[in-house]
Structure formats: C-alpha cells, structure tokens
C-alpha cells in the first residue's frame, strides 16, 4: 500500500492563532505598521503574501510531503494563479488546484491544465468542489440551481477529460458543448489531472464513483471512515472503477499529549467557541471544528507525535491512502509534521517507502 501526504497552502491567510483572524505574512500593502515609529522597518513594499505562500510550498517539498492542496476560498488568492506561481519553486509536490465548475469553460480549464502539466512534469491534480451556498454562488456570477450542481461537475469533467485524451472529441450537454475538440500536436498525450472529489450524499458519492481518482472524506472517526470507505468501494465497483480514498483533517501534534491538549484548548478559546458550548470531542483525540474557520477542515487530531501517527496508521488501515493535512501556522507546522509524524507513519505502512520522483 502506498500513501501520500498532502499539505495545504493557506491561500486566504495564515496565522499563529486559532481565532481565524487571517494574517497575511509578508503583506505590506495594508496601513497597519507593526513596528513602532522608533524602529526601522526595512521591508518596504517589495514583497507580499505570495512570497510567504512560496515559502510554505518549499517547506512542504523539503519536509517530505507528496503534494500540496491549493484551496478555493472566495476571500483568498486564486488557486490557479497560486498553482502556477509555486510550480517552478517546487520539485516533487503534486499540486492540487481546487476550483468550482462555475469557473468557466471546461475546455479552457483542461487546456490550462495541459500547459501546467507540460511545465511541471505532470504534477497537476484537480479538486472540483461545489462552492458555497446559493448566496455565495450568486456573488460569483453563478446562478445554477441547487439540483444542477453535481450534474454540472459531471459534464465539466467529461468534457475536460474528453478533450485531453481524445481528438476529435464532441459533446453536447446541458452546461457544456464542444465540437471536434481535443488537443493535438505538442499539447496532445498529456496526462489528465488526478481528480479529487469530495461530494456528499448519494449524488456526491455517485459522482465520485464515476469520475474521481480519489474521494476525499471530511474528518470523522476511524470507524465512520471505514464504513464510508466500504460503501463507496461498492459504488465504484458497480461503476466498473476503483477509487482511492482521502481524508481532509487537521493536526495538533506536540511532543506530549498534555502540550497538544493545552495548545488545542487555546486555539479552541481563541476561535471564539464558548466554554461549555458543546463538547469538541468527536472521539478520542479527534476534535470537531477546532480550526474550521481558518483551514476548512471539520476535525482535528490532537495528541502526541506517537498518538497522532498511530491514528493516521489506523485511518490507513481503514482504507485511507491520501492524507490531506493542515495546521497553523502552515510554514512551521509543515516542518514539524515532516520531521516528527510523516516518517513514523511511512515506515509503519511501507517500510521501504521512497518518494516517487
């Protein structure tokens, strides 16, 4: 069994605190002046948050992660631009660009992905999500009906894969249309991006069974995950496909369990959660909603390096092969996990693990 660790690039801000006040390290365009007037600030306007994103990406590469999830957030920087921006500075990382089917033409998306594949040695992957609620979607010029969201992703992927892998390719659907399309010549024969999907419910699971390479679950207990893996495996089998499984989960891992719980509590309080306002524990070491506002993950593993490693091994035994992790601040924590957790899990799962070039 081979597993992959995916780190997250904080496209909408990062911070040391759990209160979801997004900091943008390196951002100098705001009026705030962090130093007192009595201290020289040499930074000027010459760099901004993109330089920090670049550094997080490099950190993930150096710390031994296999990939980078570049999440979509309406408040943040655009995942496609960020993907291109970190492409040249990273050597090994798979780059998972998250976006929505309302992005635009699926042919255009596929064509942009072909260029990225050409320039990165085929390191590009997609995560296509459904987007926010109706109000958020309308703010993004997307007036699709609720019931059309999954069918639209279905068509989007059908067309994008079609023009990448076949020529000529013709398709006429409700949302997308193409006539004698398909990439040829220098653009032909490129690998279609690995597809990560995280749809929910019967419709979401069916979409994954049809199109996904990896279905990504939200954080849940090991038992829950095992059960869902079983169901989705059956669906994929019905569709004549095999599917890999991912888990989107945050981590607070420290030298001791005590430290981890102390830090997790501090985040919990900083995030504005009311004391006694519901138990954050889903199961042992799994906290709900600890950093959802700042990272998007619905659950966080809290414990010592050994405990967190063991839990990841348990998830792996339940069928998870892609761990989509994050922790704040993303730069420092990439090194921490790369040094203290990833090697333990890897040596346990596949003792001869070597990262593929």
């Amino acid at each position: 069994m081979s597993i992959e660790f995916i780190w997250q690039l904080p496209t909408s801000g990062d911070g040391r605190y759990g209160n979801a006040t997004k900091q943008r390290r390196g951002e100098r365009s705001s009026a705030e002046h962090p130093y007192s007037p009595g201290v020289t600030d040499p930074r000027g306007q010459s760099f901004n948050y993109f330089d920090y994103l670049h550094q997080v990406a490099r950190a993930a590469d150096l710390a031994g992660f296999d990939g980078l999830r570049i999440p979509e957030n309406p408040e943040g920087d655009d995942p496609w631009i960020v993907t291109g921006y970190v492409a040249r500075g990273t050597r090994h990382l798979k780059l998972i660009t998250e976006f929505e089917a309302a992005w635009g033409s699926s042919v255009y998306a596929a064509k942009n992905a072909v260029s990225l594949q050409r320039y990165t040695g085929s390191r590009v992957a997609w995560q296509i999500s459904l987007g926010g609620d109706a109000k958020q979607r309308r703010a993004l010029a997307d007036f699709a009906a609720e019931g059309d969201l999954y069918p639209r992703v279905d068509e989007f992927l059908t067309v994008a894969r079609g023009v990448t892998t076949q020529s000529p390719f013709t398709f006429k659907g409700r949302f997308f249309e193409v006539l004698n399309g398909g990439f040829q010549g220098a653009l032909g024969q490129q690998k279609f991006p690995t597809v990560y999907l995280s749809g929910k419910g019967t419709e979401g699971h069916q979409l994954s069974a049809k199109h996904a390479d990896v279905h990504v679950f939200d954080a849940a207990s090991v038992a829950d995950v095992a059960e869902q893996v079983k169901q989705l495996k059956a669906l994929a089998k019905d569709a004549g496909r095999t599917l890999a499984f991912g888990l989107r989960i945050d981590v607070v891992a420290r030298e001791t369990e005590k430290e981890a719980i102390f830090d997790a509590r501090r985040y919990w309080e900083q995030s504005g959660a009311k004391r006694g306002g519901g138990d954050p524990l889903i199961s042992q070491h799994l906290w709900a909603g600890l950093s959802t506002d700042s990272t998007g993950a619905t659950g966080t593993l809290v414990g010592s390096y050994e405990q967190v490693s063991q839990l990841l091994i348990d998830y792996a035994n339940a069928g998870i092969t892609s761990f989509l992790l994050s922790a704040v601040p993303h730069f420092e924590e990439a090194y921490r996990l790369g040094e203290r957790v990833l090697p333990v899990v890897r040596s346990h799962i596949s003792p001869d693990h070597r990262r593929a070039a």
């Binding site: 992005w103 033409s105 942009n112 050409r118 040695g121 309308r138 193409v178 004698n180």
Partner: protein, 386 residues
C-alpha cells in the same frame, strides 16, 4: 506621452530562423523525435521543458528594454495565464499581456485571477481581450455564441470585471451574466485594474472597445487603411466621452542593410513547401473581420516573395513563414525604425513587435532598432518645433 513597446512570447514553439518551420527549441513538442533533432535541451529527463526557454526570452526582453510581451493563445499553444503565473517570480519588469476570450471564464473568477496575478507580479498583468474568430474554431473551444453576441458578452464581461474590482458589493443583470453582491475581497481589491488592449475590427468589436479598452490593438494593415481605422476608433470613443489609444502588432525583420533583410525573406519564402503556398492562396478565416482586412490585398498567384510586397518595407507573407499575422515590416534597422515612427504619426501609441527567433531577435531589436525610434517625439508638430 511616450510609446510603449512590447515583445512577444512564442507560444507556437520556436524554430531557429525564419527559414525553418520546425519548432524544435526547448522541447516544445517533447513527444516528437523528428522535431527534437538538432534541438536544444534533451528529452525532458533533464528536468528542462519549454517554460525554461520561454523564461530565457522573457529575460532577454527585460534586459533589452521591452515593456513585456504578448503571450498568444491558440488551440495549438500553451496558455498565457499559466505562463504568466509560472514566470511571475523569476522576472522583474516583464509585463504579461494575456490574451483571452471573455466567454471562456466566469467574469468574477477572472477578476480574482487577475488580482492575484497582479499581487504575484507586482502589478505586471494586462489583458489583450479577443472575442474569437468564429466558425467551427469557436466550437472547438466549447463556445457556441454567435459573432455579434460574443461582443455583447465581452462588454458585459468587462462591465462585471470593473464592477467587482474595487470590492463591490456589485450586482448586475445582463443577457449573458448575472451577479448578486459580488466583489473582490481585501487585499485583492487594492490592486490596479489591468490595462486593456482590445482586438477586433467589426462594428460590434469597435462598440465594445470604445466602452472598455485603453488601447485598440490592430494588426499591421496598409498604412492609409490603418490611419482611417484608428481615426474611426478614436472618434467613436470620443463620442462616449472616453479616450482611447491605439497599438499595432507587427512582425519585423530588421538587418543592418535592407538588402540583407529582404534576403532573409527570400530564403524563408523559397524554402516553403508548395502545399503551404497553395493552402495560403485558398485560405479563409471564419467570420473574423480583421483577418479579412489582412487578406484583402492577397494576390491570386504567387511566384516570388516580391508578389507580396504591398508598400515600401511592408511584406504580407509573414503568415507563410510562421502562423499568425500576415503583414510585417522588412528593412534596415533605420528603415524599420522609420516605419514605426510613421505608424506613431498616424496614431499608434504602442507596439507589439516580434521576430524569429524571439530570443536573439529581442536583443537585436532592442539594441539596434529601438534606439532609433523617436516615438512620441516623432510627431509632426514636435518635429516642426525641433
């Protein structure tokens, strides 16, 4: 006001001279061994690929004093959004001119991509808005809108882009797009709006351009025809209470002497396969009015490169040597500079120049031609004073 001069990034692949149509440089076509023969950088196993060559050109253009470059997008080429974002970090002054068709992107997504690219490059992104040649080519891209509809859509797209740019909340009810309380978030909303170069020669295009463009961009046409076109654009824009500048996109072959320049053309022309010439004589370009305007002076037979000289130093066979535009300037360094100054006098405020191979020619044109261009100081009024 001074004249802005851009270069071009060869997204079509790059041969080593006008005499070859085999784009072997830098692994543009990594799967094709015949194209790799005598090429640069091996099979991709060394970690190099075409973006490494494009980075070389971008640097050459920076060092040679160009503003930046146009990064053309066609079915056979790599995409400018990708090239710009990938090269953002390793360039300093190079401005990325991104051509795209508004119908391909959700306008709010496009606004955010652009603002992020501005952040990634320190404000070096700008647009070349194109609206598509039409016909089956447009359906290849997955776009089924008709010609005039496409310009209507372009106008709506730019309305929304501008509306959400400074943060909104912005709402819009159009025929093609709707938005409800959209707007870029801070700090993306702090970025400069991109300069817009607008292409398109039809009435529908001019209507859209006059509302939104900073520059009206035309291929090189016969000089009198171009003067008339620029006057018309400026007049229409003036009626809307706006100002617009004009730009010319032109391939050049500049050599120390005129003789050498034409010799380069002759050798390129004589090396053409017969089929290329036959295809050229038959060709048709969908419903694009600009393409038709370029074709208008096309001869019915073609025996020598000289049949394609349409006025002094202007040769209309460039599309034979390399896909793309038809008319270009051929001459000595001084003649090319002089022709560019004549274009300034008839209304051009900016140029996008190109010559093959783009790497060496960026240095040549930067060193030999640009210093001879007088630019805005070449206007007749100023000359009379000087």
């Amino acid at each position: 006001m001074t004249i802005d001069i851009f270069w071009r990034i060869p997204t079509h692949g790059e041969p080593s001279s006008h005499r070859s149509r085999t784009p072997h440089r830098g692994d543009w076509f990594p799967g094709d061994d015949s194209r790799r023969k005598n090429g640069l950088a091996g099979s991709g196993e060394d970690g190099f690929n075409y973006i490494d060559y494009l980075a070389e050109i971008a640097h050459a253009a920076e060092i040679s004093g160009f503003q930046g470059g146009l990064i053309p997008s066609f079915p056979m080429t790599d995409e400018p959004w990708v090239i710009s974002s990938v090269l953002a970090r390793e360039t300093e002054t190079f401005r990325f001119m991104i051509p795209f068709q508004p119908g391909f992107l959700n306008p709010v997504v496009a606004a955010r991509m652009t603002a992020s690219l501005q952040r990634a490059t320190g404000g070096r992104a700008l647009y070349n808005i194109i609206t598509g040649g039409g016909g089956p080519a447009q359906l290849w891209w997955g776009d089924s809108a008709g010609h005039d509809d496409r310009y209507g859509r372009t106008t709506e797209f730019l309305d929304i882009l501008q509306g959400v740019w400074k943060g909104g909340p912005f709402s819009y009810q159009g025929k093609f797009y709707q938005v409800e309380d959209g707007g870029l978030a801070h700090p993306l909303s702090q970025e400069d709006y991109p300069e817009i170069y607008f292409s398109g020669s039809s009435d529908a295009a001019l209507a859209s351009a006059s509302k939104h463009a900073n520059y009206y961009l035309s291929w090189l046409e016969p000089f009198d025809q171009l003067r008339e076109k620029f006057d018309r654009v400026k007049e229409r824009t003036h009626l809307l209470g706006r100002k617009i500048k004009c730009a010319v996109r032109v391939d050049i072959i500049a050599r120390p002497t005129e003789e050498e320049a034409w010799e380069e053309v002759r050798r390129g022309f004589d090396a053409l396969p017969k089929e290329t010439i036959e295809q050229y004589l038959r060709s048709d370009g969908g419903d694009s009015v600009g393409a038709a305007r370029q074709r208008s002076g096309k001869p019915t037979t073609l025996n020598s490169y000289k049949d394609l000289i349409i006025e002094p130093n202007v040769w209309s066979g460039f599309s034979l040597l390399r896909g793309g535009q038809t008319n270009g300037i051929v001459g000595s360094y001084a003649q090319v500079a002089e022709r560019l100054d004549q274009l300034v006098q008839l209304g051009a405020d900016a140029f996008i120049l190109a010559s093959t191979p783009h790497l060496e020619e960026a240095y040549r044109v930067g060193e030999e031609v640009l210093p001879l261009v007088r630019g805005s100081t070449s206007s007749p009024a100023l000359r009379a004073v000087g």
